[in-house]
Each structure stands twice: as structure tokens, then as C-alpha cells.
């Protein structure tokens, strides 16, 4: 692709993505005292992550059976308070094993 055109796109894209992240982080620079907003922000990380995970994760692998198995393995590993790396690795291995099983057994 032509470089001049590419750089116009790149600047526009990177600019918007950066502004969306930067403006709130720079403007909200005092501790929030409002009880409602505080509680809201307390819940936000958990709801955002959950909404991004379900149901999208069930379509993240080649077969949704392997994705469901991988997800359940992750939940069990997380219930046993394994670290982030361990949970991620266990779920990937579970997907791999399930797909090997589905494809070759």
C-alpha cells in the first residue's frame, strides 16, 4: 500500500485510539468521593471482562466444544486460585487436547 496514504490512515487511527484512552485518564485526576460512582467503578472491571469473555470466548477456537472445555478448565483452575499464567496455560492445553481428541480419535 502507498506510504503517503498509509500514514494519513495511521495517524487518524492511532490518534483516535489514543485520545479515547488519554482524555479520561488525564481529566479524572482526583479521587472520586461520590459513593455511587465509586461503587460503579468498583464493579466495572469485573463486568467489562465478563462481557468481553462470554459468549465471545466460545468462538475463539476452531470448535466450540474445545472452547467450552477450555473455559471450564479455566474456571476450575481459577477457583483453586492458580496464577494468571497457570490458568491461561491450563485452558490452552485443554483446548489443544480436546481438539486432538476431536480430530484424531
Amino acid at each position: 500500500m502507498d506510504n503517503t496514504k498509509f500514514f494519513i490512515y495511521l495517524i487518524a487511527m492511532a490518534g483516535v485510539t489514543y485520545l479515547v484512552r488519554m482524555v479520561p485518564l488525564v481529566l479524572v485526576n482526583k479521587p472520586i468521593k461520590n459513593k455511587f460512582i465509586l461503587s460503579f467503578l468498583y464493579y466495572v472491571p469485573y463486568t467489562v471482562l465478563s462481557v468481553m469473555t462470554i459468549p465471545a470466548c466460545f468462538y475463539a477456537t476452531n470448535s466450540y466444544i474445545s472452547a467450552v472445555v477450555g473455559f471450564l478448565v479455566a474456571v476450575v483452575a481459577a477457583l483453586f486460585k492458580r496464577s494468571l499464567v497457570q490458568v491461561a496455560v491450563f485452558s490452552c492445553v485443554a483446548v489443544f487436547v480436546t481438539e486432538v481428541f476431536l480430530n484424531y480419535v
Partner: protein, 243 residues
């Protein structure tokens, strides 16, 4: 609450994100080159944007000769969730974080970096944040480069398995908390029900994912903030009680 401000700890906390990013950005590298971008162009996009969905949406617009306005709108829709995360992260940053740091940290506020920063019980300091951003950025950019150069060296079944890595991390952050806290669990349950409705229901499923994430998480979080407000004191108490 104390502040963690160790660069080393940040690097270490960013490692799983780096591992999870590699296959995703690898796929982006392949996708970009297949669509007609050069290796350098693909790498530059990853280096300056750090957003998987946004980048994937941008490539077809670029190579298809779309307008800049179209590109900007697509990025706004897909990436607007980061505003919410930045507001949330703003309350998590410790005293060591100065104005200039905020400008720099904002660049690295991705879904996963935000997730890991939020999962700390303590405030996060500047050095910790820089470490936490550096490792994933390295994974994101090198993954893009590898994918763009080497194409399909990873067998399909391996890429497929790695596709769940990021979600596994999210599960690892959310599940231990909802196991201990009933109200957070109910709030998460509601957000997931909403998410499924927006994913499968006719009409609603036409709404771009970027908006869906915001609508579902804001609705559930706001409702529970009204029903079961939580104060900093209570959060501190839970931290002490639990460990």
C-alpha cells in the same frame, strides 16, 4: 492502601499478557500482509495502536480505500470502551503517577493491561505501570512482525488453542473475586446475561461489539452501584479480611 511501584513486578505481571498477545498479533500480521500491507506497515499499526479489534477492523478500510472519517468512526465505536477503563484506572493510580505519566500510561491502557492493573489490591505506581505496559507491547509488536514475515508457521491447532489464552486470563481475574463476594457475582451474572442477549437476539446483535461491551457493563455496574453501593472502607475491610 499501599502502592506497588516496582518496575520488575510490572514486567513480571505483564508476562502472561505478552504470551497471550503473541498469537493474536501473529494472526494480525498474517491478516495484514494477506490484505496487501507491507511488513513494516503492519508492525507500525501494532506499535501505535495496541488494540486487536480496532486494528482488525482498520485493515479492510485502509486497503479498500475507505475514507479517513470512516476509519475514525470505526475506531471510536470499537475502542470507546477504553474511556470507561481509563476512568476506572484513574482511581487506581498511586501518588507516584504524575501528569506526564498519565499521558504515557494512557497509551498502554489495553483490555488486558487494565485487567491486570485492576486486579491488584494496592494502588499501582508509575514504574509498575511502565513495566506492565512494556512486556505486552513487546509481545504485541514482535507477534505482528513474526506473523507478517513467517505467515503460517504455527500449525492451525496450536493457534486455535492459543486463542483462548486471553480469555483464560480474564477468567483468572474475575472468578476468585466472585467466589468470595456475592454482590459482585450477581452483578457479573447480570452483565453476562445482557451480553448473551446482545450477542444472539435479533436486531440487538447488529449493534457493534464495541458498544455492546459498554452498554452491558454500564447497565449492570450502575444497577448494582444503586442496589449495593460499596465504599472504599468496605473494600479495604474485605482486603484485610481475606488476606
Amino acid at each position: 492502601m499501599n502502592e506497588i511501584n516496582s518496575f520488575k513486578k510490572g514486567i513480571k505481571a505483564g508476562l502472561p499478557i505478552c504470551v497471550g498477545y503473541f498469537p493474536v498479533s501473529f494472526a494480525f500480521g498474517i491478516f495484514s500482509v494477506e490484505n496487501g500491507l507491507s511488513v513494516l506497515q503492519a508492525v507500525l499499526i501494532s506499535l501505535t495502536n495496541l488494540t486487536s479489534a480496532g486494528q482488525l477492523a482498520a485493515v479492510p478500510i485502509m486497503v479498500g480505500g475507505g475514507t479517513v472519517v470512516e476509519l475514525i468512526l470505526a475506531q471510536l465505536v470499537i475502542n470507546s470502551r477504553y474511556s470507561l477503563m481509563s476512568v476506572s484506572l484513574s482511581q487506581k493510580l498511586g501518588k507516584s503517577v504524575k501528569l506526564l505519566d498519565r499521558f504515557l500510561i494512557a497509551f498502554g491502557n489495553t483490555d488486558e493491561i487494565f485487567a491486570v492493573a485492576s486486579s491488584n489490591k494496592e494502588y499501582v505506581g508509575r514504574k509498575y505501570m511502565y513495566g506492565l505496559i512494556l512486556t505486552p507491547v513487546t509481545g504485541w509488536v514482535s507477534g505482528t512482525l513474526a506473523g507478517a514475515v513467517a505467515g503460517n508457521i504455527l500449525p492451525d491447532i496450536v493457534t486455535s488453542a492459543l486463542g483462548l489464552a486471553i480469555y483464560g486470563m480474564f477468567v483468572a481475574i474475575v472468578v476468585p473475586v466472585i467466589k468470595e463476594e456475592k454482590w459482585t457475582a450477581l452483578c457479573v451474572a447480570l452483565s453476562v446475561v445482557l451480553s448473551c442477549i446482545f450477542y444472539y437476539a435479533p436486531v440487538l446483535k447488529e449493534i457493534p461489539t464495541g458498544f455492546t461491551v459498554i452498554i452491558c457493563s454500564v447497565l449492570a455496574s450502575a444497577l448494582f452501584a444503586l442496589v449495593k453501593p460499596i465504599t472504599i472502607e468496605e473494600i479495604k475491610k474485605e482486603v484485610t479480611d481475606n488476606g
